[in-house]
């Protein structure tokens, strides 16, 4: 369908050590997963991130923000460094001094995984960025694989009796004014004018929360009002278009960091989504958005302009009856369901006209997404009990309403806040989403075996295959990697060999699988790949 991927920042909490430094805890999560994979694979799999091509200050509207003008959190092209203060807070100053060495320098903050993903410390959260995939079912699988990666780290840390256990939560807010993101990325041709993307996507993003919102107890950024709303993120958006991701969050983000051949592609960075545990919500989030991008590329997006999109986004989030009507600039008043149906209708027509939804000759995904989308919208309108088995905010609401009825709880009761939080706990014995899943109350797109495989296997049909196989096959010789490079340090080569991977659809199993099968050692692998013998070391 389209190259896409997910990024999930996890909420992190050590109940036994409420004051623990969040960056330090996040580093422990990455470190723990490195230990888990080393035990399993006997190979480092702790490849460092290559920051060379990161361009977080490039704006898709055609300019670059000056470094001095950027918020510190926007400088994601620098490796994070723990200062002595953070280390001391976590381990105790005396221990640090006794140890006599700068532990911050040895702490692992970044890994490239054998499945092609990246696991790292993003400021104060552990973050998992999935490998590039080409369809929404794969996006669900490799995104859910990140939850298993986090779970493995949590288990490892729980077995350490010296330090407090850490919990990870796949949610987006602490309900005390802080929000952390779950981002999506979609590859697009650079030739599409950015203004078209803004116009085409804004009404869609304002309304798509009704199929993929995760639900939230609390209204307003600081939950100063009680109640339940559709989206975890909606109240944290303050602008229509912009480069920021941590302040003045915009509905359309303009970060222009293609991680690919820059004059050919843009990587559309989407920051408005909720982190999803529900597979169907996640599937629809990726599948429908990819189709709307196809509409925009074809110049066929519905001509809709929402009056005050940020206010509309929040009004829709605050109304679980889905009856709120928002104003369009042409005077129409429509519900979120109306907006979604307009997009569905246009997407279905384009898919039919181009043949991508054809049962035999189609792309194998568009037809399924269109059907699931229509079914979900129909259920949201008339059969909410059915929708509650797939739409995340409704599934969570069904438990919360159960508590409200059985125990007579008001929305500001702490137990409902706990249900909201614990819904997203990654541990299956604690996480309420997983309790529903184990009772077959949540529908699946991918089975457990498929998700488990995605923890170790890269997707076969993107450059993530090359990255992942390099990391797992030649771990001792791969010293760095990024979305668009793999860096080898191989004996016999005079200097580091940086293999660029700028085409997201190259480096596939079909193209490079044989190469990996033919070579057990990095040097001959590289020689065949680069078509040359090792260069002599510099004199």
């Amino acid at each position: 369908m389209r190259v896409m991927g997910s990024e999930t920042e996890y909420g992190i909490h050590a109940p036994a050590a409420p004051g623990a430094n969040a960056t330090m805890m996040s580093a422990r999560v990455v470190q723990a997963y490195a230990q888990v994979t080393r035990l399993r694979a006997a190979g480092g799999a702790e490849t460092r991130w290559d920051y060379t091509d990161e361009e977080p200050l490039h704006d898709a509207r055609g300019w670059t923000l000056e470094r001095g003008q950027a918020h510190p959190s926007q400088l994601t092209d620098q490796p994070p460094v723990l200062d002595a203060e953070a280390v001391a807070l976590a381990y105790g100053r005396e221990e640090l001094e006794l140890d006599g060495e700068d532990e911050s320098g040895s702490l692992l903050m970044n890994m490239v995984l054998g499945n092609g993903a990246r696991l790292y410390v993003d400021h104060a959260h552990p973050e998992y960025s999935s490998p590039e995939v080409t369809n929404p079912a794969a996006a669900v699988a490799w995104d859910a694989a990140g939850d298993l990666v986090g779970l493995a780290a949590v288990r490892r840390l729980a077995s350490d009796t010296e330090l407090p256990a850490v919990n990870l939560y796949k949610n987006n807010t602490d309900n005390k004014s802080v929000s952390y993101g779950s981002h999506e990325n979609y590859l697009m041709p650079r030739s599409v004018p950015f203004g078209d993307i803004v116009r085409g996507l804004t009404p869609f993003f304002v309304s798509r929360q009704i199929i993929c919102g995760s639900g939230r107890v609390g209204m307003g950024q600081d939950s100063s009002r009680s109640g339940y709303q559709i989206s975890q993120r909606a109240d944290f958006f303050e602008a229509e278009v912009g480069l920021e991701t941590t302040i003045r969050r915009p509905i359309i983000n303009t970060r222009d960091e293609p991680h690919a051949t820059a004059d050919k592609y843009r990587r559309l960075h989407v920051i408005i989504g909720d982190a999803n545990l529900s597979q169907v919500s996640n599937y629809l989030k990726f599948g429908t958005t990819a189709m709307v991008l196809s509409l925009i590329e074809a110049g066929l997006a519905p001509r809709i302009e929402v009056h005050e999109p940020v206010a509309a986004l929040q009004a829709i989030s605050h109304d679980t009856t889905l009856t709120t009507k928002i104003r369009l600039l042409d005077g129409r008043r429509v519900t979120a369901l109306d907006l979604q149906w307009m997009y569905h209708e246009a997407a279905a027509k384009l898919a039919q006209d181009t043949g991508v939804s054809d049962a035999i000759d189609g792309d194998g995904h568009t037809h399924a997404v269109l059907e699931r989308w229509a079914t979900t919208l129909t259920q949201l309108d008339s059969d909410r009990a059915a929708a509650a088995t797939s739409v995340e905010w409704l599934a969570k609401l069904s438990i919360l309403e159960g508590y409200r009825q059985r125990d007579g709880l008001q929305w500001d009761d702490a137990r409902l806040g706990l249900v909201d939080l614990q819904w997203a706990d990654l541990r299956p014995e604690k996480g309420l989403y997983y309790r529903l899943l184990s009772r077959n109350r949540m529908q699946r797109i991918v089975d457990d075996a498929g998700i488990a495989a995605a923890v170790t296997e890269p997707p076969s049909d993107t450059r993530a295959y090359f990255r992942g196989r390099c990391v797992s096959s030649f771990s001792k010789d791969v010293v760095g990697a990024s979305w668009d490079s793999v860096i080898f340090d191989v004996p016999g080569y005079g200097r580091l060999q940086r293999v660029p991977t700028r085409e997201p659809l190259r480096g596939t199993k079909a193209l490079t699988g044989g190469l990996f099968d033919r070579h057990r050692e990095a040097a001959p692998f590289l020689a065949e790949l680069l078509g040359s013998a090792p260069a002599p070391p510099p004199a």
């Binding site: 079914t375 609401l397 069904s398 702490a414 806040g417 797109i445 991918v446 089975d447 498929g450």
Partner: protein, 66 residues
Amino acid sequence: MAGQEQQQPQPRDTEVEEEVPVPPAPADAQASASTQGVDDLLDEIDGVLESNAEEFVRAFVQKGGQ
């Protein structure tokens, strides 16, 4: 993907009802339909919820994020 479920859109037989404008059901009435059979699930959840809800929720404080 393995295990993919396809849910076919069902032909709708409720169109007669739909032609009559119905005021939106109150949230409680909508919820009662979706909470049928939830009781034993709630019992299970009671057993896994963290013990001190108020303290636990209050202590869940996050630093800035994207």
